[in-house]
């Protein structure tokens, strides 16, 4: 059985760190579905949300452990089974004639966090921010109109964990946690 995992990592904000992380995923054969990286609450660190697809149950422990071994990575959490919020943003350029534009806006009204950000005589650019499922269902509804271009940010996520780490404190992945079945 394989699954999709959401990993949150705090990494040094230095040149080459993205390369080190991506290189580890590639050479260990883990498939990155999306990777979002940006500044964190601390100037010297960036936060990454990495969505990994097709992880065999036997490799669950490997993903976080191998990431943990990258020296520029200071925190790693597999948050898939935690209480967390996750959002992604998509910009969608859709074919829109004078007749179809109204229908598109009607569909858009059904979604929270979705709006038209640009209009031209033959296209509209829409923006949606929400959970992946919501983005996917909007895309499905827009498909018949003709999606010309699509740009998704990938998932960004935070746990709802109330524990506030003290300055200089970092979280380590659980020692005994994701226990895969015997390979």
């Amino acid at each position: 059985m394989t699954m999709r995992r959401v990993i949150s990592a705090l990494v040094h904000d230095r040149p080459g760190v993205l390369n080190r992380v991506a290189s580890m995923f590639r050479r260990r054969g883990f498939n990155i579905a999306s990777l979002a990286v940006g500044h964190s609450e601390r100037p010297e660190f960036s936060r990454m949300t990495i969505v990994v697809d097709n992880v065999p149950e036997s490799a669950l422990w490997q993903v976080t452990s191998q990431l943990w071994n990258v020296v520029d990575v200071v925190e790693v959490m597999d948050i898939t089974d935690e209480d967390y919020v996750a959002r992604e943003t998509a910009l969608i350029k859709v074919r829109a004639t004078q007749e179809s534009r109204g229908h598109i806006v009607e569909i858009l009204d059904l979604f929270r966090g979705a709006e038209v950000v640009s209009v031209s005589p033959s296209t509209v650019i829409l923006e949606i921010t929400g959970p992946t499922e919501q983005v996917e269902s909007l895309l499905a509804l827009l498909e018949p109109f003709g999606i010309i271009e699509l740009m998704r940010t990938g998932l960004v996520a935070l746990t709802k964990d109330e524990q506030v780490p003290q300055d200089g404190e970092f979280r380590a992945p659980a020692l005994v946690g994701a226990r895969p079945n015997r390979v």
């Binding site: 080459g16 422990w61 020296v71 520029d72 200071v74 970092f170 020692l175 015997r182 390979v183």
Partner: protein, 573 residues
């Protein structure tokens, strides 16, 4: 505190000196020239000029494994640095602490495809534990401190420091070498095990009727040989070393089994097949040990002690993982493990030992590789430092060079790097000048790095090279014999006259063609105060048995057909 104004190259030398480094291996070149200019002013650092950067990396590795200290190698940018890569890969797989220092093109030239420019930090990501591109001279002491710390801590490994030429030339204020590593939040090794994990492991050991210990290099790294022996004796558990764990448990101990895996002894493999608990101490379950995972130790629960959390569940699921340093983990386990006799299990192990002995097969007139290794073992009382290449002779050396000396068996296990045996033996010998170092080579591997003979002569490192010369890639030939219907493809490696080669390099050369001359050649080499090459012309049709074909299990194990024909008890172990 105000410091001295020094150049970047001097920062490097000051750092090496502060780390107590007295021996480095390297090759100069354009980008690293400023360092080589300054190193002249630091006579406490002896620089060995190898003839190829691969030799520098392997020599540092051999030195590090023999001494337990961090090995240091130096190369210039581009080709020099990439030539180190196979050595770094070897050290990475086998957990050897190495600091590699490379030159880089000047900062403004980086990314411009400058002469001898390579993205060395990019290239070496998969073969180093960590690496650095240093962009200012004043960062050098901190980076060097971190590099040595990362290289030697937890699961050791190579760390590379890439230094642009203009950084080596930059003048800055040197305020001393840092005493501590202060800012490395991403490197927090778990050295002390979680008591919950220890308790679970102890319970499993106490409940086991037929336990066995697999002892890996982690025992040697943590210097936990005494603790391992205490555990084995207290709970009466037989011990199987891994290839890299040879020397972690005395080879003459009644609980010592022998190597297992693809070319391990049949009886060790049968012991694992029958055991109900396997306690892995400091090894990562290499595929050459486990074969087909589903059939590996099919009746056993697994206790896995390792300092590297990524080794847990990587190849074999651990029922009781214990993450921590081998010494601390064993010390935590010891009081919780019950004293037991386990007489029934031990007598079963002895039965298997008797029924499936490791034998030395002799071919008429010509010595067999096994015989030569056996004689080297006996004539050195198992006390020499052994460095091997990769292939048939490596497996026979592992089977027959039984020892009780930690860190004395040095071989490229994980990466299987042919050519390792020549420079690594030099490194081991220079690290242990008072020990006898034997390099057991194949003729093919020896030819991959024999240019280092010149370095060995320069340094007068008295390594004894025993070339097991069958004029072929022996192990490749074995696979072609067994799995490719004897369709021999590209395996003839007939080299030069190794006796003349020895003479050309100013060494003693001896050729042995007859089994009766083996002993006298070994003794002559031992008595000779300097490097020696013995060219043993060995039998080609000798295959390494037992053998478990790749990806298969003990059920498919092939034992030597010749042994099988001998009546039980006529061949000694």
């Amino acid at each position: 505190m105000s410091g001295r104004m020094l150049a970047g190259g001097e920062f490097v030398c000051e750092s090496l000196q502060a780390e107590g480094v007295d021996l480095v291996f390297g090759v100069p070149g354009g980008a690293i020239l400023p360092l080589y200019d300054h190193i002249l002013k630091y006579p406490s650092i002896h620089h060995v000029l190898t003839r190829h950067e691969q030799g520098a990396a392997h020599a540092a590795d051999g030195y590090a494994r023999a001494t337990g200290k961090v090995g240091v190698c130096i190369a210039t940018s581009g080709p020099g640095a990439i030539n180190l890569a196979v050595g770094l890969g070897t050290s990475f797989m086998d957990s050897t602490p190495i600091v590699a220092i490379t030159g880089q093109v000047t900062r403004p030239a980086i990314g411009k495809d400058a002469f001898q420019e390579t993205d060395v930090t990019g290239v070496t990501i998969p073969v180093t534990k960590h690496n650095y591109l240093v962009l200012s001279a004043e960062d050098i002491p901190r980076v060097m401190k971190e590099a040595f710390h990362i290289a030697r801590s937890a699961r050791p490994g190579p760390v590379l420091v890439d230094l642009p030429r203009d950084v080596l030339q930059e003048i800055a204020e040197f305020t001393g070498y840092p005493e501590t590593v202060d800012d490395l939040p991403g490197f927090r090794p778990i050295t002390h095990p979680d008591p919950v994990q220890v308790e679970a492991a102890a319970e499993m050991i106490n409940a086991a009727k037929k336990p066995v210990i697999l002892a890996g290099r982690g025992v040697l790294v943590a210097q936990a040989e005494k603790e391992l022996q205490e555990l084995a004796e207290k709970a009466q558990i037989p011990v199987i070393p891994t290839l890299l764990g040879i020397g972690s448990f005395p080879g003459n101990h009644y609980l010592y089994v022998s190597l297992m895996g693809m070319h391990g002894s049949a009886f060790a493999n049968l012991v694992v097949d029958e055991c109900d608990l396997l306690v892995n101490v400091g090894s990562r379950f290499d595929d050459r040990i486990i074969g087909r995972v589903a059939d590996f130790a099919p009746n056993a629960k697994i206790v896995h002690l390792n300092i590297d959390r990524s080794a847990i569940h990587q190849n074999v699921f651990a029922d009781a993982p214990v993450i921590g340093d081998a010494k601390n983990s064993l010390n935590a386990l010891l009081p919780q493990v019950e004293k037991q006799a386990r007489t029934e299990w031990l007598s079963r192990v002895d039965d298997l030992r008797r029924e499936h002995p490791l034998v030395v097969r002799d071919f008429a007139g010509k010595p067999s590789t096994q015989y030569v290794i056996k004689r080297i073992h006996e004539l050195t009382n198992g006390q020499a430092f052994i460095v091997t290449g990769v292939g048939q002779h490596q497996m026979w050396a592992a089977q027959h060079y039984v020892t009780d000396r930690p860190n004395s068996f040095i071989t490229s296990g994980g990466l299987g790097t042919m050519g390792y045996e020549v420079p690594a033996a030099m490194g081991a010998q220079m690290g242990m000048p008072n020990e006898q170092v034997w390099s057991i080579c194949g003729d093919a591997g020896f030819q991959m790095t024999l240019q280092e003979l010149a370095t060995i002569r320069d340094e007068n490192a008295p390594v004894k090279f025993a070339i097991m010369n069958n004029f072929h890639h022996g192990m490749v030939r074995q696979w072609q014999t067994l799995f490719y219907d004897k369709r021999y493809s590209q395996i003839n490696t007939t080299g030069p006259d190794f006796v003349k080669l020895a003479e050309a390099y100013g060494m003693l050369g001896i050729r042995v063609e007859d089994i009766k001359d083996v002993d006298s050649a070994i003794k002559r080499a031992q008595d000779h105060n300097g490097p020696v090459i013995i060219d043993f012309l060995v039998e080609i049709d000798e295959l390494v048995y037992p053998m478990i074909p790749a990806g298969q299990s003990v059920n498919e194990m092939v034992e030597d057909p010749w042994t099988q024909q001998q009546p039980l008890g006529t061949v000694a172990r």
